[in-house]
Each structure stands twice: as structure tokens, then as C-alpha cells.
Amino acid sequence: MKLPNVLLLAVGTALFILPVSLGLLGTWLPALGYLPGMSDGLSSQPLLAVLAHPSTWTSVKLSVSSALFVTVCSLVFSQWLCMNLYHRRIWPLLKHSIAPLLAIPHLAFAIGLVFLISPSGWLMRLLSPGITGFDIPPDWLIVNDNYALSLSIGLFLKETPFLLLMSLAAMSRFDHGKTLQIAATLKYSHRQAWRKLIFPQMYAQLRLPLFAVLSYSLSVVDVSTVLGPNTPATFAVLIHQWFNHTDISYRLLGAVGASMLLLIVVGLIAVFYAAELVVKKTTQNWLVAGPKISPKSSGFEVVLAKLSLTIMIAVTLLCIAALAVWSFSRLWRFPDALPTLWSVEYWQKSWQQLLEPLQNTAIIGVSSALIAVFICVLVLEWQSKRSQLPRGGWWIWVIYLPILVPQVSFLFGIQVLMVRFHLEGTLASVIWVHILFVFPYAYLTLAQVYLQFDARYLQQGAILCQSKWRAFVYIKIPMLFKPLAFSGAIAFAVSVAQYLPTLYVGAGRVNTVTLESVVLAGGSDSRISAVFALWQFILPLVVYIAALVIPQFVYRNRRGL
């Protein structure tokens, strides 16, 4: 058993620590003024230039405030939904809506949101001119507002389902049902019990996913370009602009910015830890202050929660619908509620153009998902055999590293590294970099169920099959087929949505549906943007459905699974 452990550790290091740290190094050196072929020798010039840049501080403020907004609001909102809707009739809807909501790539969602809520968007078209009296769109600043509100709301709508999924996983870690019953017999209302017992137990599991949301909101580029402000843009976009500035010396500023962004992420994580401590300290007495006979029930809040969930799902569906209508339109002028001319030509054209990108996306998505799930199983097997390792050990951070560190902070370095070793531009290296980002999510969705697997099944199986290995293949894997498939589907969706890693490591040669969509989202034709955004959504959706339907079909006569 010794060798496999060492092996796993080595694999983990090679997969996660090494690339991230080398990537970081490859970004930090230019930040200090060292970029061979451009500027040799260390200098503080780039740092000073960034600090003196007129956009820097506003931009950082915008990024920090929107990231905090997104993180805090999606946490509070997801918890509030769970608390109010738990075991209500709407609960299954919440559970089942998470996967499809997650399947929608951020960018597609953002484009759809613009089609929906901008002054010339679908909502305004539906209300005009009848209700609003507008026959031209009003000049209202809705998207791209200077406080990054529309960006924050867009991200909030996308991150909430993720935290809901993580909350469900966290809830399955302890017997929340019985805990609530016990609390009720101790005369606590459902809401009190949730706040005092369920949430504190869940938060320990939610901490890392929450930091992933924080880091993502701080470093997102594509969504921020679509929904975010531009006078100035958020910090990640500004960094991206510097990396692509026509004046090559701006690359050094980009490197400084990328390093600063990492510091900001680390700083905010520290703030969250501090806040957690403060909250723990100040709520100590409140937690054990005893049950309070509360007025009858909180019917109003439950109704509000139901309404919010419905609105959240409806907005998302409307975004998709707006994309769908645009994709089939030929002529759709303001204020017509629907296109005056319809057409399938953009779908037909896209199909010819997408054969190769679709193939690439499928190959990369399927291989990275399969490999990631396979490594997950290895890690989890190893983990389930070592009960002495606490579940929240340091190595959890290792797994999370690629999604905690902002992508822009190390992708530039990774690109230099790949180029150095002639590895860029191949399918294999793109798959590799995708695994880096896909694995944490696969692990997140699988770990809980996997570790709870009742080892007695396996012991029984080993006796019956007379081989541990065969018991594993014939008993454990089939019994865990559903969660394995789900985790694979999440992994696939994450892979499909990767933009910067594909671009940097694929050297533009490995074309995927997402690369095409980002390029065309920047184009002038709404109809084509819509078609490509939908393509980006269709692939993960198909895989999600497959992950749901296939296990159900295979085990259609096995209710126990």
C-alpha cells in the first residue's frame, strides 16, 4: 500500500501543484520586469506603472465589490432558499433544476441576459410600444452599468445554483433530517433549527466552494466583457487588455496585475476567515440561548422563497428562450415582440462550420471528464482507506488550487512553459489543462456520495466474488454509477465552458465551440451570437440528460439504486 500512496501524491503534485506554481512563476517574473526577449533584469517599473495607471484603483474596487456581492449574496440566497423550501412540495423542483441551471455556460447565459434585459431587449419589446409607449428603445443604462451591478446580478444568478448543489452535498454529509426532528422536539422552530444547527454544520463544507465562487467572480473575463462596466472595466478585464495591448510592453503590466489579483483573492479569503471567526464569536451565546416560542410560522417568507426560486428559473429559461428566438430569426426589429421573418439558415451555416469545433469539444470534454472522474475514484479510494485523514486536510486545498487561483494569474506563465517545451496547440495538452480545472468540480460532486458508500457491500462482495478487485468493478462501481455519471456530466460542462485555458494552451489551433462563441459573441450579428451561445449550451445539456437517463435506463428495474 506504500507505493500507491507515494504514486498518488506524485500524481497530485504533477497535476496540480507543479503546473500552478510554474505558471505563477512564469507570471511573477515578468511582473518583476523579467521577460526574456523583451526585458531582462529586474525592475519595479511595471509595478509602478500599474499603481499609477488611472484605471487601476477604480477597477480593483469594482472587482472587489462585485465579487463580494456575488459571494455573499449567492451564499445567503442559496441558504435562505434551502431553509425555506426544505421538504416543501417545491423542494424536488429545486433539486432537479440545479443540474440544467449549471449546464448553461456563463457566457451563453450572459449573452441571453443582455438579449433579455437591455433597453432594446426582449422584455422591453414585449412591453413596447403598448405599455411603455416607446417606439425606439429608451437610453437607459441597464447592462454595463458603472457599479458592475448587472455583472454582479448575472454572476449571482449563475453562482447560486452552484452553491445550492454544494449545499445539498453538504447536507448529505450529516443526518440533517433527524437533526431537524431533534431540534423540533427540543421546541425549536424549523427556521431557528436551520440557522443554529444546519447552517453552521454546512458552512464547513461550503467554505471552499465559496472561495471558488469568490475567485471566479474576481477573475472572470468573458462574462465581465459582456455584462460589466468599461469605464473602466473590472480588474480581470483590464489585465486581459494589458496582456493583449498593442504595445507589447503592457504585457509586464498584465503580469503585475495578474499577480495583484492573486493577492486580492488571498486577501479576501483571509477576510472571509476573519469574518467567520467574528461571526462564530459573536453568535456563541445566541446559538445556545435556548428555544424561543416563535409566532406561528413564516408563511410569507416561504411564499417569497418559492417566488424567488421561480423567478430565478424563469429568468434563466427566458434567457435561453431569447437566445432561441434570436437564433431562428431573420428580421427582428424593435419594438416587435417577435421576429417578423424567421429562418433556420444560421443554424445550417453554423453546422457546417462547427463540425471540427464540435468534434474537438466532444473529444476534450469526454476525455478530460473521464480522466478526471477516474483520478477522483483513485483519490477517493485512497481516502476511504485512510480514515485518519480528516476530510478537510491540506490536500483538499491542493485539489482546489486550480480553481482558487485566478486563471489569469498563471495561464500566461503556463503558456510560456508550454511553448518552451513545444507542447502547446495539441489536443493532449488542452485535455491536460482542462483536467486541471475539471477535476476539482468532479471531486466536489463525487466525494460525498463516494465516501459514504457502505463498505459492508464491498466486504460482502469480496466474499462472493472472491476478489476485491472484482467486487469493486461489479459491486461498487455499478452501485455508484449514478453519482459517477453526474460527476462526469459536471466535469464535461466545466470543460466545455473553458475559454482562456483553451485559448492559451491550444494556441488557437484547437478550436472549440466556446472559442467560436466568444469570437462571434464579439461580432455584430445577434442571430449568429445566439446560435453559437446555444451550441455551447446544447452539448453539456445533452450530456447531463444522458447522465440522468442512462443510469435510470440501465437500472430501470432497480428502485434501490
Binding site: F174, D175, K178, T179, Q181, I182, A184, T185, L186, K187, Y188, S189, K196, L197, P200, Q201, A204, L287, V288, A289, G290, P291, K292
Partner: protein, 222 residues
């Protein structure tokens, strides 16, 4: 014969159904303060569902007929938190984010802080756990956890105690210890208790209620 009003807890022709199908014959039992009734039966006969029906946590697909009365009040219409019932599972369900004292204090009804603290301290003494208040529950032994868990249930001052196989997770010698602890506490609290089990050793007296048969039975002495 005891007077009728001393029968604090009564089940009258209680039956549970799953799609019109009764799980067990009608149950009619009466308990007085300090009395413990052991309910036994093969697994799947509805023992836990019976407790759930009394506690108010019955799964929605099951329906009830008959009546449940505690201290002269029908329980069926009341929500769990107003039934005044203590519930003890085989799993101790201690809250890991609170220390031992916190877990106990959690159950103590609101009141003056000093009084609440005293109640906890006294409870700990009664369980030979004096000085354990600041301990992290994760550091307790299985037997200690079980006792803290029962103390917590009792500190809420329930009018009826329901125990769902509370000993099944413990080792044989711990089980004996904890069993006598439970019986002592019930007697001290002077409340009726209903204990579901499939272990004949859990019966302090030599009779029990056989759920599948629908009547009281006597243990066959081995």
C-alpha cells in the same frame, strides 16, 4: 387499579397505513408517569413508524387512524415542537459545532442565564460527566456521547420520551451501563417512555408489547 387520570399517555386503536394497507394490528396502550413500555417486533413491522407517528415526524405517504393523547391532549393536530416529546435515536446526533455544554444548553428552555447553566452542570454531574462542559464532542467516547445525548433530550423537559433502539450502536458492556442510566433517568424524571427495540435484554420488566401480534407478551425466561 390506578385511576384513569394517572394514565398520562394513551394510544387508542392506533394504526398506520401505507396505501390502505395496515402496517400492524391496532395498538391500544396506556402509560403512567415513570412507566416504560418496550415495543418489539421483527424489522419492517413499523416500529419506527409508530414512534414517528407519536413524535409527529411521520412520512407523508403513511396515514393514521386512532388517537394519541398526552396529558389529556390529542397530539395529532400539533406540530412537533408543541407536542412536548423527547426523541432519542440510536445515533447520538450531537451537534459537532457546539461543545458538550453548548449541546446541553441548546435544549434548556429560555430563562435566567445562571439557572440554565446550573441545570446543565447538574445534568453533567448526574451522568458522571462533571467538568466536561468545555469539551469538544468529537473527543468523547461512545458511551459519553450517548449519555450527553440523552441528557440533552431530557433537559428540554419532555412530557414523554421516545427511544428508537437507543442501545443498538453501543458495545455490549457500554450498552448495559447506558441502559441502566436511561432507566434511572426515566424514573427520576417520572415521565412515561416508549422504547422500540428488538433486543429482549432492553426490557426492564419481563413483559413487552409485540407490535406484529398486537398484544402484550411475556419474555420467555431462558
Amino acid at each position: 387499579m390506578l385511576a384513569q387520570d394517572k394514565k398520562i399517555f394513551t394510544l387508542n386503536k392506533l394504526q398506520l397505513y401505507h396505501r390502505e394497507q395496515a402496517l400492524f394490528p391496532p395498538v391500544s396502550v396506556q402509560l403512567q408517569a415513570g412507566e416504560l413500555l418496550v415495543v418489539m417486533g421483527p424489522s419492517g413491522c413499523g416500529k419506527s413508524s409508530l414512534l414517528a407517528a407519536i413524535a409527529g415526524t411521520l412520512a407523508p405517504e403513511l396515514s393514521i387512524s386512532g388517537s394519541i393523547c398526552l396529558a389529556g391532549q390529542s397530539l395529532q393536530a400539533l406540530p412537533i415542537e408543541r407536542r412536548g416529546i423527547g426523541l432519542q435515536y440510536q445515533h447520538d446526533l450531537l451537534f459537532p459545532h457546539l461543545d458538550v455544554g453548548g449541546n446541553l444548553l441548546f435544549a434548556v428552555p429560555r430563562g435566567a442565564n445562571q439557572q440554565r447553566q446550573n441545570a446543565v452542570a447538574q445534568a453533567l454531574i448526574s451522568a458522571d460527566l462533571a467538568g466536561f462542559a468545555q469539551r469538544d464532542v468529537a473527543t468523547l467516547s461512545g458511551g459519553q456521547r450517548a449519555r450527553v445525548s440523552l441528557l440533552r433530550t431530557l433537559l428540554a423537559k419532555p412530557k414523554l420520551l421516545l427511544l428508537d433502539e437507543p442501545f443498538s450502536r453501543l458495545d455490549a458492556d457500554l450498552r448495559q451501563d447506558f441502559r441502566s442510566f436511561v432507566f434511572e433517568q426515566i424514573a427520576a424524571m417520572s415521565i412515561p417512555a416508549l422504547l422500540v427495540s428488538h433486543d429482549p435484554q432492553d426490557c426492564p420488566a419481563n413483559h413487552y408489547y409485540a407490535l406484529a401480534e398486537g398484544k402484550m407478551m411475556t419474555l420467555e425466561k431462558l
